[in-house]
């Protein structure tokens, strides 16, 4: 997404970019010394960043309101749970399950995408919502396979070439690496010709067809890639929690992920990071008022849509402008 009119990158923007990099490095370096509780919070933030990056492709770039994103999260989580736990007696390693979960995610994304190709706006939103709910109800009721509401427990930890991911700190590094890799891919997508095609679809789908873009393929690609990212997040979540149940994959969860994007900034990677951070930190800071969390979030969502529909992070805060002083390709 281009940042408004061609203003030169101001000193203020450069300073903010610098400050962000410094903060990130300081944070990463202090993790080994942090108490586990704080690291868990960081882990939560990173998972939601991952989910946000995925959903952002469909909502932010292609402009399709998907209210059932949690379905892909669930597919990834349950794929890992079924293939690495006593539930079915299968014990595959993480590095084998990950590509399987990715493929299943892409397939699920395309399967959702095909019927909604002709739908617009609100109808699209409702059908994706229904899809998410159907997945949850199926998981909840297919007792033989998924153990229904009781969930699947004793899921194996992730083991990569002998390195076992067991503590929250281990998970932090895994999530950090994953987030950075996914963020780079998403950033490249955003600036690629496919990303521009998505934005054309978002701006005016008919005009996009009029200039020769195969909107069907482009939209399916958006659904497939975003679903894959959601699925990856699900795998890591499942291995980290070592327990999954349908309760983690409700409609409310889908709404929360949408909220991240709306709060932070639609179509903006840094916005997703800001949104996820806010979404997780706010209830932590107001720990005494934990019950007010949903109330505040709901009101915040409505408020932001009215007052600042593009989200908190300004559209011009894109990585290439913030970090322009570095050699950015």
């Amino acid at each position: 997404m281009n940042g408004g009119t061609a203003k030169p990158v101001t000193l203020g923007t450069k300073l903010i970019g610098f400050a962000l990099i410094v903060a990130a490095i300081v944070l990463a370096c202090s993790v080994p010394y942090m108490p586990n509780y704080y690291v868990r919070v960081l882990d939560s933030i990173l998972i939601y960043i991952l989910l946000g990056l995925g959903l952002n492709i469909v909502i932010g770039y292609a402009g399709l309101l998907d209210l059932g994103f949690v379905a892909f999260y669930a597919i990834g989580a349950y794929t890992y749970a079924l293939l690495a736990s006593p539930q079915m007696g299968i014990h595959l390693p993480f590095l084998v399950i990950l590509p399987i979960a990715c493929v299943l995610g892409v397939l699920a994304g395309i399967l959702l995408g095909i019927p909604v190709l002709r739908l617009r706006g609100d109808y699209l939103a409702i059908v994706t919502l229904g899809f998410g709910e159907i997945i949850r109800v199926l998981i909840n009721n297919a007792d033989a396979l998924t153990n229904g509401p009781k969930g699947i427990a004793a899921i194996h930890r992730i083991d990569i070439f002998g390195l076992t991911i067991s503590t929250p700190k281990d998970v932090f590094w895994l999530l950090l690496v994953t987030c950075i890799l996914v963020a780079i891919i998403v950033w490249r997508l955003q600036n690629s010709i496919l990303g521009k095609a998505w934005m054309a679809i978002r701006e005016d789908q008919d005009a996009a067809k009029g200039i020769g873009i195969n909107t069907t393929n482009a939209k399916l690609a958006a659904f497939g890639i975003s679903a894959m990212i959601g699925s990856i997040a699900g795998v890591i979540f499942s291995a980290f929690q070592r327990f999954v149940s349908p309760e983690s994959f409700t409609f409310q969860e889908s709404v929360l992920i949408v909220l991240i994007i709306v709060i932070g900034g639609i179509g903006n990677i840094l916005g997703v990071i800001a949104g996820a951070t806010m979404l997780i930190l706010l209830p932590e800071l107001l720990r005494d008022y934990a019950e007010f969390r949903m109330l505040l979030l709901g009101l915040l969502m409505a408020f932001l849509i009215i007052v600042r529909p593009h989200g908190l992070v300004p559209r011009s805060f894109t990585p290439d402008r913030l970090f322009a002083w570095m050699r950015f390709r």
């Binding site: 706006g121 008919d206 949903m294 109330l295 709901g298 009215i306």
Partner: protein, 314 residues
């Protein structure tokens, strides 16, 4: 056998009546503003809680027929006013912006209302004594309760009243004009804001009554009861044709029949493999199938390819 079918039929009509009342709220709002009001399910929930509050403070030892009427009326008005307030605060500022921002706003409001009620009343289910006298009647081998009959009659009366209102009264005709073509209605001097406020009074009001009926039927209420029931009622509105008032009524009953008979048939058809716990899926499946293959529903407007000029969604 006839007894069983009759019983299921009454079950279907009862829940269908409740869906229909809620669906009316969705369809009226969508017809005028093209907005899917996610917060409407919460109006349904608020109705039940409002009735609870009124009962606790005004009728601690039970309410007779007259008392019940007062409860319905008070809840209708109270929740109706809440609906108007929400529209003014959270939807009106977004009227000229994109198509989907009001819907996103309504999502936020929906979350907020659920959370607020949960804060005040707690997340646990609360019992509610039926406002109708509870007596079982046996007709042709079917076990029917007076509660069911009461619900069906109540709903039919309200739907009849709404129909008369929209067809014959000045305000009602204005509402219809605004939902047909807002700009033309405005040019003819109809006060759009007033018509919209009226819709946001009646719709939530009807939803509130449905909430009281539901609580009387199942005897319980929770802060999240509006979510699933709301979605099902929305399905009913789509089935009947979103934007069409008679469509919402018909859609409600159709969904009730689909759900009750479908759920009853499921164990029979699948040899007991799929049981009645898949009840909720009927509504979602119906929703998706209708939206994919006949989005205009039974009585809805046929939107031709040429009349839709879509640009940005949000």
């Amino acid at each position: 056998m006839t007894g069983l079918i009759l019983q299921q039929a009454v079950n279907a009509l009862t829940i269908g009546a409740i869906y229909a009342l809620i669906a009316l709220g969705y369809t009226m709002v969508y017809g005028v503003l093209r907005l899917i009001n996610f917060a409407h399910g919460e109006m349904f929930m608020l109705g039940a809680y409002a009735a609870l509050v009124i009962v606790i403070f005004a009728f601690p030892s039970g309410a007779g027929l007259f008392g019940a009427l007062i409860i319905f009326l008070a809840a209708f008005v109270a929740v109706g006013l809440v609906g108007v307030a929400i529209e003014r605060a959270a939807y009106k500022p977004l009227r000229k912006t994109s198509r989907l921002s009001p819907m996103l706003s309504s999502l936020g409001i929906s979350l907020a209302i659920q959370a607020a009620v949960q804060l005040v009343a707690g997340p646990q289910p609360i019992g509610f004594a039926s406002l109708f006298p509870v007596k079982a009647i046996e007709i042709a081998g079917a076990n029917i309760t007076t509660v069911q009959i009461g619900i069906i009659i109540c709903a039919l009366l309200l739907m009849f009243a709404l129909n008369r209102f929209v067809a014959s009264t000045r305000l009602g005709i204005n509402v219809r004009a605004v939902s047909e073509n807002m700009r033309t209605a405005q040019l003819m001097g109809i006060d759009i804001d007033r018509a919209v406020s009226l819709i946001f009074f009646i719709g939530p009001g009807l939803g509130a009554v449905a909430g009281i009926l539901y609580a009387s039927y199942y005897g319980v209420m929770t802060p999240s009861m509006g979510v699933i029931v709301g979605l099902k009622a929305f399905t009913a509105a789509i089935l009947g044709g979103i934007g069409s008032i008679p469509g919402a009524m018909i859609g409600g009953f159709i969904l009730g029949i689909l759900e009750v008979f479908g759920t009853a048939m499921l164990p029979i058809l699948t040899d007991g493999y799929l049981g009645t716990e898949y009840r909720d899926i009927f509504a979602f499946a119906a929703l998706i199938l209708v939206l994919l293959f006949k989005p205009s529903g039974l009585l809805g407007e046929r939107i031709s390819e040429e009349t839709m000029v879509y640009k940005r969604d949000f």
